[in-house]
Symmetry: C2
Subunit: 316 residues, 2 copies
């Protein structure tokens, strides 16, 4: 009876299916294109095998995980008996509206409908849908099965019970939930990324640092810490008196950098003129899919490592 509907079977939908099936849920995949759904199910076999290879899933459990994922040929079949719907449609407001309307008409009463959208606040498409109280954003980081973080973003009309239910469901699925109190463009994850990118583009755009060297500042510096603890805990531990002491000591320094406003930073022309050639030299566009696979292998290895480290690092 614990069934979840995954609507839209691109990379995000596939990642979600892996997450839900691993946690023991039956997963019904639905895609407007039956062929796409079948391709997705096929692709997931490799995905589950990878997880098993990196000890993120019990190898003996892999066939069972796969067996829990099935294709529904009609949307109503996918939704029938589902306790939750994860929608992964295209990032276009009108399509989101139409699709969510259809989901609301077919899903059982009060079953929450979460959208994977990274850029569209749910209030922009659900205001005039009868079941708008159960429509909100449940945003993963791509690929979902390799990033525990999930953002839960209510609209002004979202029922608190729906939020609580999905929060618990996500925690049951091993997710680390970020629950926002209200909608804000970009939510939390992409606002943080956007703030950092804004400054990165400024520095590279002004020619102060090469993109390669800028990447080292994160990958061989800040990112090492940030894969272990967040920025708040980082600064909290970086002053003898904790976070307020940190701000008293360093706040003025940071504010003195004059970060923002960024009106003089033109991302597009900087990308074209300063980034593209160098980045393509490092990884030609044609080799990006290969580099994505290598990235995912490294991500999995990192997750396995963090699992091991959870025990080892607790030594006094």
């Amino acid at each position: 009876m614990n069934k979840i509907a995954v609507v839209g079977t691109g990379l995000i939908g596939q990642g979600w299916a892996a997450v839900f099936a691993q946690a023991g849920f039956e997963v019904a995949l639905y895609d407007a294109s039956q062929e796409a759904a079948e391709r997705a199910l096929k692709a997931m076999e490799n995905r589950i095998d990878d997880l098993a290879e990196f000890d993120l899933i019990e190898p003996s459990d892999a066939p069972n995980v796969l067996k829990r994922i099935t294709i529904a040929s009609r949307l109503e079949d996918a939704l029938d008996g589902a306790i939750y719907v994860q929608e992964n449609g295209p990032e276009i407001v009108d399509i989101k509206r139409e699709l969510t309307q259809a989901l609301d008409a077919l899903a059982a009463k009060d079953v929450p409908i979460g959208s994977s959208t990274s850029g569209i606040s749910a209030s922009r498409y659900c205001e005039h849908i009868p079941g708008r109280h159960r429509c909100f954003v449940v945003h993963p980081i791509n690929p979902p099965h390799l990033h525990p973080a999930v953002e839960i973003v209510p609209t002004p009309w979202t029922d608190q019970n729906a939020i609580s239910m999905v929060n618990e469901l996500m925690i049951k699925c091993g997710r680390e939930t970020i629950v926002l109190s209200e909608e804000i463009d970009g939510f939390v994850v992409n606002r943080l990324q956007g703030a950092l990118l804004e400054e990165a583009f400024r520095l590279v755009g002004r020619g102060i640092v090469s993109p390669e060297d800028l990447d080292k500042a994160i990958c061989d510096g800040l990112g090492l810490r940030w894969s272990i603890m967040g920025p708040m805990q980082t600064i909290h531990l970086n002053a003898p008196g904790g976070v307020s002491d940190y701000v008293a000591r360093y706040g003025e320094m940071y504010r003195g950098f004059g970060i923002g406003p960024y009106d003089d930073v033109d991302w597009a022309s900087i990308a074209n003129e300063k980034l593209e050639a160098k980045m393509s030299k490092r990884t030609p566009v044609a080799e990006i899919p290969e580099a994505q696979i290598a990235r995912d292998r490294k991500l999995m290895a990192l997750l396995r490592h963090k699992k091991q480290v959870g025990v080892e690092a607790s030594k006094p």
Copy 2:
């Protein structure tokens, strides 16, 4: 004959000593307080043992690494025969000026003098020093021996040869160098951190997200990626056509967040009113030293992991 002088033996100086000694250099420690230097050398024994335990140094090599580090009782002894000077004095312009003047008077001709300062551009204290051409910033991330990233920041008068020599030296020491073309407040690392913190403080300050949940957005999300690759490579791999395609697809979305100016964000009062109680509940101030040790153990485990992963993840 390959000797490096480390002047100032706080945590930063100790980290540098470990880096240089591991790379085979003789290290002369000098501190205005002889007692501080002796405490530092004692503390380094544990540090080197930790590195050995986590396979970041050959256990059999540990005693040799320690043997390469000695205390000089006079500044001139520390500098005698040194090919490079790493200065780790207090973060006060007048003290930096006085100390650098003394270093310049005693160090052999053209030996570069790098400062570990995180907040003071070298031009602010070296302009009127005779050897200003060899004075610049060589900024690590704390603790230096656990973060490969090092920023090299020239003043308007810095000799290009000095930059090249120190860049090569750092690479020889296993560092990942970030070479800036000119001085800018905060350099690269802390500007990126500052930009992200600015937005983090805004979100927490407005009550949109708790500090705990905000930390998950990085630690269980963006930080996992960023410990594997920098933000530029991340976005380059996140669009089929690479970085320019990414900006064409998502640039408008990010700019639409309206990040900056931040004049309405008061870090100090947010820290006092919104952060302190919660952060102290997670880690009481008295437990911070303990939490720092746990953090460093995790950092070392992560570095070991990345070493292993370098091979494993390259499987096709």
